[in-house]
């Protein structure tokens, strides 16, 4: 800093500013709220909102500026309301672009929380975010006192006046793990909590996959949640009847029993269908939007071990296998009607051959009885994609090192998984980990850990 800047600094710091005491402001009334008040612009808002806003117009702003609770509303628009102990809105925050659109020029400050929630939901309906195809709303209430949060949750829920919608409501706390995820994925705390809940019930799903889903999709996956009212719309999908028809046509059966169908998520929304017919067990996974069969498995109910009741036989039943590995492979390939295969693996386990291979962008799994050569069960996954790493391992390494701005590294490891490179290395006592997209070379995620 040069001498002139030192003088500027000295003089600007010499300016006397009024005392600012929040305790005092609280007693005197909240200046900020008063100044910020605007007249609502009614023309642009639906009748419902107009009615709500007329009420708001008559309400006095609240003396108490302290935020005691936060109420999050997620559809796709994500909005957060900060309210004081009298349940008046102090501030409305849009968490995303759609949220801004919803709030538009409504001035909800000073209004009762229930009025504000209904006004916002009304605006979401009017703007086409809540429709008969996607009718789910997530309401998340945050208060340091869990009992108060719970009371407020029930109160808001009781005041929502709309038919044919499904509301998931919950209370949330600002735990570090949740807020970190909310910041990282740029989603609301409430959505983070719902995703965590889904993951707890299904450990095959990842946060990454679920973060992109809409609240309606999450609601469908969540299934029997005690705090959900109404049911999430499935009207965007082909429907259970159509999905059943597709599976039965493919299996070429009509008389079935033990039928089960469930909407679930596996990279996309899918119908999972199970049934028995002709003494076989069928499993289908059908794309809920397109009706394409993603994966199916047919279990012929073949007994794998001739002596399954014979406890005296030792575990290595290799001796009893009559057919060879090559013969088993041929049986599988003939059945799949393919010749050019990749990623072939075979293993003999418990007197059955487990065979895996890939061909024509499909992934095949067979189990073949090692004594009889009969197919016990098989599954075909139509969704398999050849990994296509445009970036080489060396290039990926260089991208990571350049980003970290280091050259001398130790404990270097690289792995290609699901079209991304996972790279780890150490520099002195710092541990670096990178995830790099194998097609674009883009850094998906990185972390530097100092021990």
């Amino acid at each position: 800093m040069n001498s002139i800047e030192k003088r500027i600094n000295k003089n600007l710091n010499n300016i006397k500013l009024p005392k600012f005491d929040l305790n005092n402001l609280e007693k005197k009334g909240y200046v900020y709220m008063e100044k910020k008040r605007k007249l609502p612009i009614m023309a642009a808002i639906s009748t419902l909102c107009v009615i709500c806003l007329l009420f708001i117009g008559g309400l006095y702003y609240n003396n108490n500026y302290k935020v005691t609770s936060k109420v999050g509303i997620d559809v796709n628009p994500s909005v957060e309301l900060k309210i004081n102990q009298k349940e008046k809105v102090l501030e409305v925050i849009a968490n995303n672009e759609d949220g801004k659109k919803i709030i538009s020029d409504m001035d909800l400050k000073g209004s009762d929380i229930n009025v504000a929630v209904n006004a916002l939901i009304g605006s979401m309906v009017k703007n086409g975010y809540i429709t008969e195809l996607a009718n789910s709303i997530l309401i998340s209430v945050e208060n340091n006192d869990n009992n108060k949060a719970e009371t407020l949750r029930q109160e808001i829920l009781n005041q929502i006046n709309m038919e044919n919608i499904s509301i998931i409501s919950q209370t949330v706390n600002e735990e570090k793990e949740l807020t970190d995820l909310a910041n990282q994925y740029n989603i609301s705390l409430g959505k983070v909590k719902i995703i965590k809940q889904i993951m707890a019930n299904n450990n095959l799903l990842t946060f990454d996959q679920l973060a992109d889903l809409s609240i309606n999709e999450l609601n469908l996956i969540l299934k029997d949640n005690e705090n959900t009212t109404g049911s999430a719309s499935q009207k965007a999908y082909i429907g259970e009847e159509k999905a059943k028809e597709i599976a039965l046509n493919h299996a070429n059966v009509t008389n079935i029993n033990n039928y089960k169908i469930e909407l679930d998520f596996d990279d996309v929304m899918v119908y999972e269908i199970e049934f028995k017919a002709n003494n076989k067990e069928y499993d289908y996974e059908i794309n809920a939007l397109t009706g394409d069969i993603i994966e199916y498995e047919i279990d012929n109910n073949e007994v794998s071990n001739n002596n399954s009741n014979d406890n005296s036989s030792n575990n290595s039943n290799n001796n009893s296998s009559i057919i060879t590995k090559d013969e088993a492979k041929q049986i599988a390939l003939n059945h799949a009607n393919v010749t050019n295969i990749t990623n072939y693996e075979i293993e003999l386990d418990d007197n059955k051959y487990e065979i895996e291979f890939k061909a024509n962008n499909k992934e095949y799994d067979y189990e073949i009885n090692a004594t009889t050569g009969k197919i016990i069960k098989y599954s075909i996954d139509n969704n398999y994609k050849e990994p296509n790493p445009v970036i080489s391992k060396d290039e990926a390494k260089q991208i990571a090192l350049n980003h970290a701005n280091v050259t001398n590294i130790t404990n270097y490891e690289i792995e290609l998984d699901d079209n991304k490179y996972e790279i780890e290395f150490n520099v002195n006592n710092k541990e670096y980990s990178y995830e790099i997209n194998a097609t674009t070379g883009k850094i998906i995620e990185y972390e530097i850990d100092t021990d």
């Binding site: 800093m1 800047e5 003088r7 600007l12 300016i15 006397k16 500013l17 929040l22 900020y32 970190d180």
Partner: protein
Amino acid sequence: MEVSNYLERIAMNDIEAFNELYNLINNNVYSFALSILKNNEDALDVTQEVFITIYHNAFKYQNQNKPMAWILTITKNIAYNKIKSNKKTINVDEIEFISKPNHDDKILIEYLLNNLNDDERNIVILHAMNGFKFHEIAKILDLKITTTLSKYHRAIKKLKELTKEEKNE
């Protein structure tokens, strides 16, 4: 204690931390608001709004490492919404000082506020008050680093010429 520690405490509704932070950095916020608005009353209002915004939003600050840049960006946004007229000059007598500045200093502040253009004034004040790096200033003001640097040098040159003139008078 660092500004980020204050923010952490404020996020937990610690009013004492809030008051301490206000006393620590209110002149930084006010000066930047004054730089943008060239009006004492409006700058005081903006300063108050900025701190209320900090109070309500401190919890959002987590995991960033430039608290002052965050606070001054809030200041900029609030101040920009307040610009009413393109008032050309400000009378330094409007501003209340703790101790009366000497003649030279008063001239310097007057010249700083009235004779530099908007970018020059904002850059010099952010640099003198907060010890920011130029790339940080460029980011807050949405300018290129090269533009920021050349404007800074031009502004300092102008101010130096003034102090010379003052001495020669």
